[in-house]
């Protein structure tokens, strides 16, 4: 059983009366990824019809050089791996807020009653701590004078993930830099966008899995989010988080870097190649040949992910011997790729299905990369 506690819980624990009355209010879920920010807005039109809107924006605007634009970089400049620093500066958040405001105005999103956001796992730290829940919270909350249990003082905002297993003394903790959360909230606030909730990835994944499989589904469920920098493995029992693991250095960024070094192309071109693979209608000719060139790195990468996931599944089988894992739901930007799902299915001998969900007011299902934003819309 997973329980969470958070600083300032009592502030938002009481829902306003008008929110309990029905679903007439509009909700916006914003998944701030390392590469792309995904937004889902659901609400009702003036005639009472349920509507929804899906937006994608780059989290940070890539500033292309002239060489990037002309394609010279892939031929003349040696490929350099991108910086590992994923921290966004204040100006980046302000720029993102400005573009979000413009996108909302363009999409006709006028009313936002509930604004729920989430920062990807790149900004978060997932670790195991020992000690009681009160001790962990007392030293992790802002303003605490009892020390920071050896961690950086910048990682002050911390939530606790408590395992229901009484035998385990270790407690999985997820922490987020306070300055990142504050910078994002203040940048949005400057654009008249009041971020009310900043959720974390495992909780959103649990709700997204419930949306995909049905909230009444019991037993063990696993959801893998293949993001740009990391893969997050989340296991749920009876709809609640049981185990979460962050698989570093296995995100799309690593595939991009592998393609860069093998095909000697720029990072932007490698991203474009991966993005083209997600389209259903793939072109023949030079593009097809270029995609064939990225088949090998993708398979190698999928095998690495499968090995890590296999380890995690074995851990789950050891912790939950009486439960049976029927399938794995995959989400994130990598969920488009059939290579990953195929390799995972073969390596794990488990069905791997991409996440999808059709929100009310839409006729077409949402793709796997919108899973966490959909989970944010259903924040409770």
């Amino acid at each position: 059983m997973i329980r969470m506690t958070r600083p300032g819980e009592s502030v938002l624990s009481a829902k306003p009366a008008y929110r309990r009355l029905g679903s007439s209010y509009s909700t916006l879920g914003m998944d701030v990824g390392t590469s792309v920010t995904k937004v889902i807005w659901t609400g009702r039109s003036h005639f009472g019809k349920q509507e929804s809107c899906v937006l994608r924006l780059p989290t940070r605007v890539l500033r292309l050089t002239e060489e990037d634009r002309s394609g010279e970089a892939s031929r003349t400049r040696p490929v350099e791996p991108a910086k590992e620093n994923s921290e966004c500066g204040r100006s980046d958040w302000q720029d993102l807020a400005r573009r979000l405001r413009a996108a909302f105005d363009t999409a006709g999103i006028e009313r936002i009653d509930r604004f729920h956001g989430m920062l990807s796992m790149d900004w978060c730290d997932l670790r195991t701590e020992t000690g009681s829940a009160n001790e962990i919270q007392s030293v992790a909350r802002p303003g605490s004078k009892s020390g920071d249990i050896g961690r950086s003082t910048r990682r002050m905002t911390t939530v606790e993930v408590m395992s229901s297993d009484k035998q385990s003394e270790g407690r999985r903790m997820l922490s987020l830099p306070e300055d990142s959360a504050r910078a994002l909230a203040e940048a949005l606030d400057d654009r008249k966008l009041e971020l009310q909730v900043l959720d974390a990835m495992p909780w959103c994944a649990a709700r997204a899995a419930a949306l995909f499989s049905g909230s009444d589904r019991e037993g063990l469920q696993v959801m893998i989010d293949w993001g740009y920098r990391a893969v997050t493995f989340t296991a749920m029992t009876d709809g609640n988080i049981f185990y979460c693991r962050k698989l570093d250095r296995l995100g799309l960024r690593q595939v991009t870097a592998a393609l860069q070094s093998e095909m000697r192309i720029s990072e932007l071109e490698a991203q474009r190649l991966i993005a083209r693979r997600s389209s259903a209608a793939e072109d023949e000719g030079p593009t097809r040949r270029a995609e064939d060139g990225c088949h090998g790195p993708l398979v190698d990468h999928a095998k690495q992910i499968a090995a890590q996931v296999s380890t995690a599944v074995r851990y789950l089988n050891w912790r939950l011997p009486k439960t049976n894992l029927e399938r794995i739901v995959i989400s994130g930007g990598g969920g488009f790729d059939p290579i990953l799902t195929g390799v995972l299915s073969r390596e794990l001998a488990i069905d791997v299905v991409p996440w999808s969900w059709t929100p009310p007011g839409r006729t077409e299902a949402l793709p796997p990369d919108m899973a966490l934003a959909a989970g944010l819309v259903r924040w409770e």
């Binding site: 502030v11 905002t157 909230a185 909730v197 959103c204 988080i241």
Partner: protein, 198 residues
Amino acid sequence: MQQGVNLLPADVLLRQQNRKVIRFWRSTACVTAFCLLTVFLAQRRDLIAMEEVLADSNRDTATSRKIIEETTLLQNRLKTLREATAKQKQIRSLHPPTGVLAVLEKMRTELQGQMQLQNLDFADRPQPRAAVAETINSAPERSGHQVRFSFTVASPEAATGVLEFLKQSGRFTDVTLEGSLQQQGSSSDLSFSVRCTF
């Protein structure tokens, strides 16, 4: 479904909470102001209605006063009319057959004839018959009425002649001498009155 968490810093949440409180009180203040304005307008409307009632009352008072004055005036007129009617009834009771106009006309004629005859001086007139005839012809003739004529003559014979003339004129059914001949002061003139009945 799995409940979510909120990683926003406490001061951001507190600021949002303060905004909510400010918005709440702002909306509450707006609602309160609206209610007060409604009450104020309702009271003002009542005041206006009361003023209208007072104005109507004042207007009614002035109307009532005017009506009372007119009523008093009418009552006075009615009283006058009643008095006049009573006087007319009294007069009618005195002169039932002829009415008021006939009586007045008779009185006027009597006065006129009396004055004319009083100025008649038979002594100075060479033709007394014509004068007497003119006098008696000027009196209106009505059956049953009496007219008193006064004559001044110079001698008893003249008086007799006048009486004879009146009797022989045929206009009167009866001619009666009232009283006797009266001497006019130190002069030798004689005056007498004759009551003639038509």
